[in-house]
Assembly symmetry: C2
Homo-oligomer: 186 residues x 2
């Protein structure tokens, strides 16, 4: 199901950066080539999402963290491209239209307050969590011990991102404290 809308606490909110993707259960339906294409597409999307989000954040500490996440996703993209090139020698990466979990897209508008930021971080957390499970699912689908190891690596890295985001999210919920801690505002 593709949708530009999400329902949270009974309130329908439009989040233009998010497209809900196909469910994780459907992984087995796709050939590995397509799954790697989906993974590369997801890493590119996440990188652009974090880059554009960082540009819109004034809090230096948080900006740094989000930029760091963008850099990490860039490295994952490169790693996956290597694996793809090795497995499907000479073939161009095909980016399928499907994607697993929420697809992150660049944030092209100014953020309207902390609620807006929280909403985006919540989606990023969901995307990271699903990515972690996605790579876990690929462990059984790739052929060599080396590739399985890389999938475990990617899965753990995304879990690390998930908890890093969740930590920030937790603090941002108390904006007054957060801004005091981060020396934001007057």
């Amino acid at each position: 199901m593709n949708s530009d809308f999400c329902s949270k606490n009974g309130v329908i909110t439009m989040v233009p950066e998010i497209d809900e993707g196909v469910s994780l259960e459907r992984i087995k339906e796709f050939p590995l080539e397509k799954l790697l294409g989906m993974a590369i597409k997801a890493e590119i999307g996440a990188k652009k999402f974090y880059e554009s989000l960082a540009e819109r954040i004034d809090i230096q500490e948080l900006k740094n963290k989000i930029e760091w996440l963008a850099g990490e996703e860039g490295k994952h993209e490169a790693l996956l491209r290597k694996i793809y090139a090795e497995m499907f020698r000479g073939k161009e990466v095909v980016f399928p239209k499907e994607h697993i979990g929420p697809e992150l897209k660049p944030v092209e508008r100014e953020l309207q307050g902390v609620q807006d930021l929280l909403e985006l971080i919540r989606w990023a957390m969901k995307a990271e969590e699903i990515a972690a499970h996605f790579y876990e699912g690929l462990i059984d689908m790739v052929d060599t011990e080396e590739k399985k190891r890389l999938m475990r690596y990617l899965s753990d890295m995304e879990k690390g991102h998930y908890y890093t985001l969740r930590a920030e999210y937790e603090l941002l919920l108390d904006w007054e404290m957060y801004s005091q801690m981060m020396h934001v505002g007057p």
Copy 2:
């Protein structure tokens, strides 16, 4: 139980940087002031451990990650000192002799190959995992919603560290691949 030895796969190894601490179950036996002292001590120890470990690592990527962890622990120390100062106004932080889980100490020797590095990362993972549970345990012991939030923050950050380390650990297990990926060696 304090011990400079650990048993792994039936082999007794001396790991001079590690002291096994008191178990997590004993948290409730200590007053909050002492627990915060233990937490600050642990963060200082972890910071020194990561700093000294980073100095002994030649692989730039991994060195950066470990240095980043050292910086994070430094920030946690500062945050905990703030909480302590607010709760026990005018009191110097007392560092108890007890510590929860493995106590990380500076690495003062040259690392002897990847097995040595793996052993240290394994202990760091254990320390991060226990720290995450430790802070979770403190959520119910601190008095305000703000402090509970900070404990959740610290707990999630340590979980993030745990998975970051686990990801690296996973790759390091295949040293040949790791060194290829990280462009190490000749």
